[in-house]
Symmetry: C2
Subunit: 339 residues, 2 copies
DNA sequence: TTGTAAGCGTTATCAT
DNA sequence: ATGATAACGCTTACAA
């Protein structure tokens, strides 16, 4: 016997009327503060309220709540490249960490977080691209006006917001060294190749490792892999097809690593046996090809970031916002060791 | 000379004060209705307002706006398995479709949409799992109280909300037929194998195709692939390792197809040459292995769904909510044709 | 052309 | 133990 569909979405007022109490009481009961020292609602009343809410299918409007409290119960993940295994790993970690919490993770894929943070007012935001000119100043302003921000950036200094700092450069240097210990020749797959090397960047670490050993840097072994998996695949394919291809490949992102793996497979080259492949990020230990991917990156990174986000969202300002530095280590797996 | 950081997030009132006008005027100017017939704001005033907003870094609170107007400017995508290429393709399509709009796509990964729809009040929601007992009734109620819903489900009937219906069964039957034309033996990789066949489901179509040709259904060729890529990989690997493995494999989801491709590669089997592999969904024409994946599915599906979402969010009730049926066709590509 | 003011659904401070 | 009520930031008739 479903009752006639109510034409309007149920509000707290309707619940109050149905339960024969005031809206204040409903609010107390439903927000769990019905047993605060100041406000103690009777058990029987509370039950009536809950029944009414249930019957009406009432769920508090987070918008209205946000206007009043400033909190939305939302964790915003602004991710430029959602399909990258790295991004997916973070989403999954945050999902786990928010289980049982009243927080909802929301993902904005390849969107501009700048206006979003202000308009959506999430309880905390994760940002993976803050490299536009005015960003440092903007982040400071946002943080100063109460927004909780967790930014991943190699250069930014914390300034009211948290900064995730990865040991990018040293890590990549280490990975390059590791590969050079095992292979005579190592190529590089990075989005922009080795043109216009940014000091402290990942490609730069590769170049430095070569130079430190007195090895030549061969530009034809360092093609631009582009910003998406399919262009990375083409770049990898072309490189691996060369008669003088390197014995190993180092990919500076997970999506590039995946693509390199695919290209090797397409050419019948067995990773770890015919060709060494290593990736940066350590987002996935096991690839879709079932073999372990040698990688460099932090351990338990995603869990750590997720925990930070949750604690910031909860308003934990015990530890002031600052820099979170993640040491990187090399994980040698089948893709360079063989099966 | 950046001014001292304002301690509070800027509100419409601050903008009004700074510009020396009323909040109403600010609202008019910023929401673009400054040239409505009733409310025409002077050019000079408008400019002053915009300058003030700019200077303060003011962005309207979508929460406050939502309380008033009921609109959040948000498209919610509730996706159970975000890492599935199918999901990622939808996200990308929606992102494209909302470009230039004032809509923001937000992804909720593996979350419970039931309370979310009510609390977040998105302008439209896409739902890919509405198979819990009370869902049909709940969806009706939600739709009746004004929520715009687009639900993908094989069984649900539209009832104030839109239903995306795919020609699942016929499509899979067609794919199975196509494979059986080319290969003598075909295995199946579906999440639950062929135990407890749901009539009208994808595995059922496979079984029917076999039976129609008088071919035996061999359970050992239809293992349960599980709900994630790694278990699918293991299942595919085990199946392909059998001495009596089938000549071709049909995967009922994209993530399973990816896994199968990976398993083949791991065993040194060239898809299209040594083993036929086909997938269901048609989310990606080209795999990370660079070869085309034979697939069955609708054409321009993601674009169509994205367009529907945008038009619903815009409040286009010209066409009443209903069923959107997508014909499926087989796309034969290298993974069954050879390179 | 612009301002006044009511009201959206909540929460929280006070009374009662 | 519960209820009035102001306030949150914004939009929108309507008045000026």
């Amino acid at each position: 016997m479903a009752q006639a569909a109510s034409p309007r979405r149920p509000t707290i007022r309707m619940v109050a009327e149905r339960a024969g109490v005031s809206v204040a009481t409903v609010s107390y009961v439903l927000s769990g503060r019905s047993s605060s020292p100041t406000t103690r609602v009777g058990d029987e009343t509370a039950a009536r309220v809950r029944d009414a809410a249930e019957a009406l299918g009432y769920v508090p409007s987070s918008a209205a709540r946000a206007v009043r409290t400033g909190r939305t119960g939302t964790v915003l993940l602004s991710l430029t490249m959602l399909s990258d295994p790295w991004s997916l790993a973070l989403v999954e970690a945050v999902r786990r960490a928010t289980r049982g919490t009243d927080l909802t993770p929301l993902v904005a894929a390849d969107a501009d977080w700048r206006p979003l943070v202000r308009s959506l007012q999430p309880d905390v935001v994760f940002i993976d691209d803050a490299d536009r000119p005015g960003d440092a100043a903007l982040l400071r302003t946002l943080a100063a006006s109460g927004d909780r921000l967790v930014v991943m950036d190699p250069d930014l200094a914390p300034d009211g917001f948290d900064v995730i700092r990865n040991d990018d450069h040293a890590g990549c240097r280490l990975l390059a060294e590791t590969l050079l210990d095992r292979y005579e020749t190592v190529g590089l797959l990075s989005p922009n190749g080795i043109a216009r090397l940014r000091p402290g960047g990942r490609p730069a670490a590769y170049v430095e490792a070569l130079k430190a050993r007195g090895l030549p840097v061969r530009p034809e072994w360092c093609p631009a892999a582009g910003d998406d998996e399919s262009s990375a695949f083409r770049a990898a394919l072309e490189l691996l097809r060369r008669a003088d291809r390197p014995q190993a490949l180092m990919a500076t992102s997970e999506y590039i690593g995946q693509a390199a793996l695919g290209a090797a497979g397409a050419l019948g080259l067995r990773p770890g046996t015919d060709i060494g492949i290593a990736s940066v990020g350590n987002a996935f230990a096991t690839t879709s090809r079932g073999l372990g991917m040698t990688s460099v990156g932090p351990e338990r990174f995603f869990e750590a970031v997720a925990e930070l986000l949750v604690s910031r969202a909860a308003g934990d300002d015990g530890t002031p916002p600052g820099e979170h530095f993640f040491e990187w280590q090399v994980f040698e797996r089948e893709s360079t060791l063989g099966a």
